[in-house]
């Protein structure tokens, strides 16, 4: 892997970890140690969007 490709990947992972940590922190600020079902659904929706984006690029690059 080239450095110019690895850095965006690193930033991506750290950003996603930061988003998760922020949600945990916000819940803790409200006196909760567990995320609500609604908050979990938001993380699930984030994966839905990522799935759509990846599939679109796969389909695009698979065209002859």
């Amino acid at each position: 892997m080239k450095i110019q490709d690895a850095i965006p990947l690193l930033v991506l992972v750290l950003n996603n970890a930061a988003r998760f940590s922020a949600a945990i922190g916000a819940a803790a600020a409200e006196g909760r140690e567990e995320l609500s079902d609604e908050e979990v659904r938001r993380f699930r929706s984030g994966d839905d969007l990522a799935r759509v984006g990846l599939q679109a690029e796969i389909d695009d690059q698979s065209r002859p």
Partner: protein, 131 residues
């Protein structure tokens, strides 16, 4: 910097990223003990795998076929996360087991994308999907 140096650095950076993800996935972080926190971490990890795969696909580091293999396996692991969520109320023990195995499997897929590039599809195929 020579090509081999940048390749090595790139791999090290990726491993650092995976270590961060691994902390989330392994449940080593205290804040991850509650079920919903682990479940959210699983969905976030699945998203990270997909977005990382998209990044590598756009950089032409992997082929569309390899990316599809990652996508399909992540879909199945995402199904395991959904299964754990569904059965949690009726059987918390079973749900925790499925969730734990799904988190571990997502971690394996992410490692495949980082270090098994030439055999990515085969590596991903070997990852078992919890039921």
């Amino acid at each position: 910097m020579k090509g081999s140096d940048t390749t090595g650095l790139g791999i090290r950076l990726t491993l650092v990223a995976l270590a961060t993800l691994g902390c989330l996935l392994a449940g080593g972080c205290e804040s991850l003990r509650p079920f919903n926190n682990q479940l959210a971490a699983g969905y976030e990890a699945a998203r990270t795998v997909r977005e990382g795969t998209l990044s590598m696909l756009r950089a032409r580091e992997i082929t569309p076929g390899q990316a599809q293999a990652v996508q399909d396996k992540t879909d199945r692991l995402r199904g395991s996360l959904d299964l754990a969520a569904r059965v949690h109320e009726a059987d918390p023990g079973e749900a925790s087991g499925v969730l734990s195995r799904a988190l571990s499997a997502i971690d394996q897929v992410s490692r495949c994308t980082a270090v098994e590039r030439p055999d990515l599809a085969a590596c991903v195929d070997r990852v078992e999907v919890p039921r």
